[in-house]
Symmetry: C3
Subunit: 389 residues, 3 copies
């Protein structure tokens, strides 16, 4: 196994991409300040509800506009009263008739989709709404659920690493979802031109308590042994959507018919704040018991407490990275998904650089596209975890 | 509109100037540590009351002398007991008879005037007490009032900017003194060889509540419409004295006779602590109701709560400057006074530099001395603020 | 008097030395993280009690191993479950049979002696247990006592300076042990090839209260005037052992017979954490009333409260050094012991450097080996302190 490519010498994240900047409910007729890829942004909704994202520093003397106030669809600086419209143009200056046409703050392309406000920190000419990452389950009436926003003191790629390999559930979440069989079962890593996927099936296992309860909630009968799945989909630069669920063993789920089971999706999208911190937006949605608020709340709060364990580990990992600038990461088989994810990010970053060599290098590391990695359960795993293979 | 001269590439403040280091009441027969232009200073009064200012680091092993104790007019280090006299000379060393004549800490020129202790961080040979900024109203028996010291987390020039343009009252102090007519009325910016002045008259206006009450306190009769003034005087490097007041409309105040009105002075002098923080000494004094402690307390506490709003804005502005090292300030008409103030500071700094070019450049930017800027009320202001011109 | 050699341009501390990393009672069947000379170390005891010290960063993704868990004599990472044995070799990886033989974390030589766990951060081949500093009194059945660990926010050499000259007791500890005669009496500084010693005898003095009580505890009769001693022994890089005690005047203590008196030892060893902080391990032991826990507790808590005063001064001194990067230390006669200590440290550091010149320079500064410094009481001391010579 080779050391991971040192992605830290490239820029940390592509600029020409949509990044979740707020949950839909966070935005209203008030000013919300948020730092995104080191850009200070102020966001609000116009009277008609449309989201606006402006540079959060007055053209005149840099005071954050978020210290000011909304005036209709415009924002007025809280220091000397300069007013900027949603396009960032200054439309009022105190004590003078003439307004310098150069007086503007940057306006960011912004789109509301899948319950998130997406901001494009790069070249506005490239900001195609069709490029918003697919998290449609979060607003699809066939699915129900809810989520939260976490601020994590780590680079966003550490969260991607974390999500692309769920082996860590056994160790980080040993008291909740960390079923030991996760470490034991084989998994498969595949990738396409713009995606990476990790698939793990646990066949004929006892369902963990939370899934047993869900299956019984849906079917109304006691649950027996199940087939359980975790299918992790990565879309660059920073969206991870995970199919999770269980179906009665023998009901055909591995073959493609999950109708007898319970289907969930863990939706995740991370937005760099700085190189050492990120905004982590997530939701958990399901395709059954759609109107049951109790189930929505149960999942949201359970997932929130599980993710708090990850937050602790991720922040500790970031501090360790800062403490050991000379050390690199090494990859295990379990890191196959994360490795492809980082290569896809690298290619996006490379394409924004003036030097062709970066792109060629990134393309080469992706040349094995379509290659499949099969990872077998190991005897060592089984023995260590006391599981009979 | 030109970008503001980038004053940040010059040293931040002249060394050869008197800076307020303490309020008179702060100093006594105990050790007071304060950082002034990045100099660590320890201050105290001798037995006869004379102020002393020494470098706050023992010659021997650098322990702050402020951790030690007064011994008569001298200060003894709290670690090994070395004793320094008010001139900074070591007069006692433990366990040795001979005292190294080089053993001294720096002694700063110090003067007590206008209720402040002034320290000169530059060349002692140039420390002429006649150069102390004029804040004599603070100790003149014809005036009464009091003030405070605020520590602000911003460069001292941001406070000067703030004081040299009171337009911000409309936006920062909208709930207290922010009368909307301030933004509306014309003002005049003038400057002399060593001063800058901003004059604003509001003729025939309703007095704001605080001034109405003062006028009625003095005259004993209900107040009608007034002429109101704000005349801001800058004296480099960092003193701003503001004449404020109202007089019954038609009683001759604009023509020079303010005897029928109430006269106040907001006295301000800022001392850099570091490049990102300063000590802001202020007082509010008046020339009527001299013995009325209730009025003194009322003004002191009102001004303190208004300045706390500025402190919030100024610290936010400094953080924004630090967050956007690539951005510069732009100047509006309202910044005329601040612009001259910064040019006068630049010239003081330039004169301390070895390279003549800095002085020539500073002189050139001041070549328009005597020039007058008239700023008219704008229709946009009036419309925006709902005021009939 | 020459300025002190600027030891800060050399590395701060030698790597090839044993440093106290924990008190014996701190270590058990759990993971203890501690930073030592900027190395992050995790320590624990094997089932048989033997101490283990490993690099505190997982080979895989750098998570501190101290976030994980003990598994028998091994430690399992809390993220993905990699397991490392006491030699630092990885013995388990999740989901794979083959373990990369390069997968290891650094294992540090470790020795338990004199109630401390000693770690060797340098070349393991040189880690000879015979080089552990001599603090045997801490586990010698002929002596009794106890100690503590303090974290001090200063460079470890400042603690050495502090201990090598007890003049500071007069000023820092004026309310407890700071007998004025300490500053007054002569002292002698000597040094050998690998040691520095400061000897101070106070002949025919009133014992300070704490020593009077000890002498009466041992002898059962009222104490009269005594001979008091402080003999400070430095062993590089950072161990200071101090003989302290009193004996009835005339009972022969200065001549070598202390049997009629009470003997104590203040044992100190400092371990750099970073260049601006250290772990300070200490104990106070005595050779009488061995079974008297009351005396043990009394001394431990008295010394702890005295050392808290030093901690305050030392942290203030470190901040002052950081605030005045341009300033150097000056040496007085009282600094003779500390000066030799620093030269011995410099030579250890120099021997680890590739350039011979450093060693030659260090040897030269130690060329006066065997030289003796006699420091007389001064008339100025006596007059100042009101003591009759």
């Amino acid at each position: 196994m080779q050391p991971a490519a040192d992605t830290f010498t490239l820029p940390d994240a592509p600029l020409n991409a949509w990044y979740a900047a707020a949950y839909d409910v966070e935005l209203g007729r008030r000013l919300l300040a948020r730092r995104i890829l080191d850009h200070n942004v102020v966001m609000y909704r116009r009277a008609d509800g449309e989201p606006v994202a402006l540079e959060n520093a007055c053209w005149h003397r840099l005071l954050p506009l978020s210290e000011g106030a909304l005036e209709g669809d415009n924002v007025a600086c809280g220091y000397h009263g300069l007013v900027f419209n949603p396009e960032g143009r200054c439309v009022f200056m105190p004590s003078q008739e003439t307004i310098n046409p150069a007086a503007r703050v940057r306006s960011y392309p912004v789109v509301e989709l899948h319950r998130f406000i997406w901001v494009w920190p790069g070249d506005p000419a490239l900001a195609d709404p069709a490029l918003v990452p697919d998290l449609h389950w979060n607003s699809d009436p066939a699915w129900a659920g809810d989520g939260k926003l976490i601020h994590v003191d780590c680079n966003y790629k550490l969260v991607i690493d974390n999500l692309m390999d769920l082996t860590h559930e056994t160790f980080v979440h040993s008291s909740s979802i960390g079923q030991r069989s996760i470490t034991e079962v084989p998994f498969e890593v595949t990738h396409g031109p713009n995606s990476a996927t990790v698939t793990r099936w646990m066949i004929d296992v006892e369902p963990p308590p939370v899934w047993r309860a869900q299956l019984e909630l849906k079917t109304g009968v006691p649950a027996g042994r199940v087939d359980r799945w975790q299918i992790i989909h990565f879309e660059p630069p920073s969206t991870v959507s995970i199919e999770v669920g269980v179906a009665p063993h023998g009901s055909g789920a591995p073959e493609g018919d999950r109708s007898a089971g319970v289907n969930g999706r863990v939706l995740n999208t991370m937005t760099p704040e700085t190189e050492r911190s990120c905004h982590y937006f997530w939701a958990f949605v399901r395709d059954y018991a759609l109107g049951d608020q109790r189930t929505t709340t149960l999942f949201r709060e359970s997932v929130a407490s599980i993710f708090a364990e990850d937050e602790h580990v991720l922040a500790a990992q970031q501090r360790a990275i800062d403490d050991h600038p000379d050390k690199q990461f090494y990859n295990l088989n379990i890191d196959g998904g994360a490795m492809w994810a980082r290569r896809l990010i690298d290619r996006m970053v490379a394409r924004e650089l003036p030097d062709e060599r970066y792109v060629r290098s990134a393309e080469q590391s992706l040349a094995a596209e379509g290659e499949r990695i099969n990872v077998e359960a190991t005897a060592a795993d089984a023995e260590r975890l006391g599981i009979k293979l």
